[in-house]
Symmetry: C2
Subunit: 566 residues, 2 copies
């Protein structure tokens, strides 16, 4: 028990089990054993009543279909699952609530049993967080007493589903935006509740974003923070007359400009007189000018202005440039502008031209490269459209569509029993895609000559693992005719042990968020590009060994009822 | 300060301000003053630096478009906002984090100021939670020192957006399902994070659902809980041989059946021999039969079985009926079945026929009415389709599409400055729908002769309110040609004071969740049906007084920059 998640910050969590916990509790203290479906407790009672509650069960957690019309998913949420089970304990108060909730016929012995339940007899195997993963292949394998593992189903699926979905969404946004752009997550206000927001910030960072606007997430997870001002700040000012303290010290501290406002106004007049800008703008909005000046006086070294409160090209950009040039006189370099409405491709190009004109006309080196951030209802599609049109945006602030996963708001992770008492179990369905793959399994990623992963293969736990250079028959789990021989150049076992219970097995350390972020980037990079592209991506193959294939179909026939047609 | 939210339960929250709080803190303890965008703090610093931080500002919180292609929205999330501001206090630890985060040039005085910030000088007016609301009309009006109110923007919008969206989604599902059906929220596992799940359960109940599967939400909010068993429970059994304790006491306690398993098997044989059922089923699945028997032995008075693990009509329903008939022998009435896959309309009708056959053939009164619950990826569309096809479902368990608001995963609530220092402010945009309505306003709902609301009207704060029987000119806020005279039969002022700060104004009590749920049902009921229908609903009119209209357009012209074309 020597794993300490290296999160930055100190969010309090309830030390539920009153033992010194070496793994912190869930980030959200509302994640308790009661954060589960009632049927997990009714089933626990029925198992207990039948004397079956301690039967050793194996469950797989997996999903059936990649989200967003893509052919890959990024796995996230594992750390929270481990934090949850490391501190799993049903409090007296929770037991009392369950006693009041379940039918009065339920026997007291069950509640005594529940009070002693923890995860010391549970083992959790999982693919490392931040990995690229595929449908049907278990993300996690959870083994333990059937009644206990069932109680974990709902919280585990809850903790994995959204985490993996939004990490994948972030990775997809990064893919479209390209590696050179700065991606900022601005979604807190539109997220599905407070920790929808906090989770989004954390997992978007994992998926490849550079920073968030969410201070709580910055504090808890150590994610870089970004933010400047809103429209309200701009419209809260009436005009430059209300600025009382007008002095500003130069960047190097050598001199003080006593009236920064008038320097700005002088620059604005110079801009207006430039023949090359004639007709571009006339009188700019004075509330806006006052707001920009005030913001610059507060943050002379971090001046970034939102320029679309009144009119981007007629007011916002000229006002920004006047302030930026005044700052430049004092040795400060303005950060740039933010566009939050209108035609972002057009406006960013026009703004860039304006900046370049200033660089040329006034000889301010680098002014043409002043930053342009864009942030109006962006998503994969608008990023793609901007790329096609051509734009001059350096940084994108993305909110609603990113954090709510608007294009597909849910990932369908499931948690299926695959073995109990060493007996493999299958869940049938008229929909073949919903039939579960039975048995306690191992899974492997096989790599080809070019270093790309070729396919994932699942085998029964006791089969010999696939070997490098060996010819392996890989079968589609349900489609008889789909099979391929593969000779792997590298074989990677996918699942590692993250929770050993009381066994003396080796346990993986929980990586930091930053390590998971790096893993995610590296995993995405190593995929063959045709699996990753936005339009018509090639499906990545997921297979089973010949032996497992035969066993699945034997079990299937065995379990399916035979009708008696007459 | 005598408002105590009457929530059931005892979720711990940090008493952040170390004063005895009479309003509990936010349900989710992660809702702290840092749960906001960084720019709220950078703006606060800029306001403070400019000496503007205490200027009295008025912000409106509103949305621009009804969700889900509908013409109404239900307002929710108010209680959490009030809990948040009632306990608003930035801790030392948070101040330290902010100090490390903001540029080192920020002056210490600002952080001293932040440490003393609370909401004692803030007033909050709002439409009651659970009300039917419309675009552009303020849901909340927040007044106070500009720097403080800005800090509230992000958490307020976060707390209102998803709450209102999911409450509206629940109300829409209730509308399609009809009042006679039982609606169960089963979404926890697919929700966007832990409190996405807890919030969904709370607000779906407010919007008209009857129960949830989420134990935590049941405990915190007193929502009725529902749940029985999953597929895993069924497949965890091998066959009836493994059932050791087979006895069951009769409902009235008068006798004990020593071998319930064999009574069930006898009933199964009787069912098989019924000529009317010949060809419907043959050998049923014995794992399933064992699971049903075990569940019945654990919950003889609450027997509800999931019947689609192997095959609904060939195995699940006959197995269920055998157990239900054996229970009936002992005086118990089975609750019913749950269908979780396949053609729910067809299967529910076939099951109903099966039940009725049993009622007729074996003379079991009421057996034909045994409950049928359906729960496979349901949403408004599938409910509507089921209604059109005809079905026999009594209760719907709805998850993914409901709680993630899959059809539209975000509501776009905004928070706009409308007045500062008694000066009205407007936010312009090239997109007219994004122009804000300036001024500190009041709003009224005007009712017609038939008792239906006719329209909502906003006025400047100091205008005389609309009077019953008086002819009022109601104008579209932005479209000159859209106006109507209205003679209201009833006038309802929409916003009430929910937070008075330190003033001695009267404050509204926060209603209980149940009261909000009742308000919601009553508000939905009183709407004219054509606003509520699913297909082509009539937009509800939102208007401004003639005086406010003129003022908006005066301000607009005043603020918009005039270009200089040549």
């Amino acid at each position: 028990m020597d794993v300490k998640p290296k999160v930055n910050g100190d969010v309090n969590y309830e030390e539920r089990n009153h033992r010194p916990a070496t793994i912190a509790g869930p980030t959200n203290p509302m994640v308790t054993p009661l954060l589960t479906d009632l049927y997990q407790f009714t089933m626990a009672y029925a198992y207990w009543k039948a004397g079956k509650h301690n039967e050793r069960a194996v469950f797989d957690l997996y999903f059936r279909k990649n989200p967003f019309g893509g052919e890959y998913t990024v796995f996230a949420g594992l750390e929270e699952c481990i934090r949850f089970i490391a501190n799993f304990n049903i409090s007296k108060d929770e037991i009392t609530f369950l006693q009041e909730t379940l039918p009065p016929t339920c026997e007291d012995g069950f509640f005594d049993y529940l009070q002693g339940v923890d995860c010391s007899d549970v083992e959790v195997y999982a693919i490392p967080e931040g990995s690229v993963v595929f449908p049907k292949v278990p993300l996690m394998r959870i083994e333990g007493p059937v009644a206990v593992v069932q109680l974990l189903e709902t919280p585990f699926v809850n903790l994995i589903n959204y985490a993996s979905l939004v990490t994948t969404n972030a990775a997809r946004h990064r893919f479209v935006a390209g590696k050179s752009k700065l991606l900022l997550e601005f979604g807190l206000r539109r997220a599905q509740g407070p920790d929808g927001g906090i989770g989004a910030s954390r997992y978007c960072y994992m998926g490849g974003f550079d920073a968030t606007s969410n201070c709580a997430a910055g504090k808890i997870f150590g994610i870089p923070l970004r933010g400047t001002h809103s429209h309200a700040f701009v419209s809260s000012f009436m005009g430059p007359d209300e600025i009382i303290e007008k002095s500003l010290k130069s960047y190097d501290g050598s001199r003080i400009c006593e009236d920064f406002v008038s320097v700005v106004q002088t620059w604005l007049s110079k801009l207006k007189r430039l023949s090359i800008l004639r007709g571009v703008f006339g009188e700019t909005n004075q509330s806006e000018l006052a707001a920009f000046v005030s913001y610059a006086l507060a943050f002379p070294d971090n001046f970034l202005a939102l320029v679309d409160t009144y009119d981007v090209m007629k007011s916002g950009v000229p006002n920004f440039c006047a302030v930026a040039l005044a700052l430049n006189d004092l040795g400060y370099k303005a950060r740039g502008i933010r566009l939050d409405s209108g035609d972002l491709a057009y406006l960013s190009c026009e703004t860039r031209k304006f900046f370049q004109t200033i660089e040329n006309e006034f000889g301010v080196p680098g002014f043409g490269k002043t930053g342009i951030t864009a942030s109006n209802d962006l998503n994969e599609e608008t990023l793609d459209a901007l790329n096609k049109q051509g734009h001059e945006v350096d940084a994108f602030g993305i909110g609603t569509y990113l954090v709510t996963c608007y294009a597909q708001a849910a990932l369908g992770c499931v948690f299926k029993l695959v073995e109990i008492n060493n007996q493999p179990r299958i869940k049938l369905s008229e929909d073949v895609s919903k039939v579960s793959i039975p048995c306690k399994k191992r899974s492997f990623r096989l790599y080809g000559k070019e270093g790309y992963p070729l396919l994932d293969i699942m085998s029964g736990e006791n089969e010999p693992p696939p070997m490098v250079g060996e010819r392996i028959l890989c079968r589609h789990p349900f489609n008889e005719s789909k099979r391929a021989f593969v000779v792997p150049q590298r074989v990677e076992e996918l699942m590692k042990c993250y929770w050993t219970g009381n066994t003396d097995k080796e346990r993986e350390e929980l990586p930091t968020l930053k390590e998971n972020r790096e893993r995610c980037a590296q995993q995405l990079d190593q995929m063959r590009p045709d699996h990753m592209r936005k339009v018509n991506p090639t499906p990545y193959k997921v297979s089973v060994t010949a032996k497992l294939y035969d066993f699945i179909h034997f079990l299937w026939l065995n379990e399916a009822p035979v009708g008696e047609l007459q």
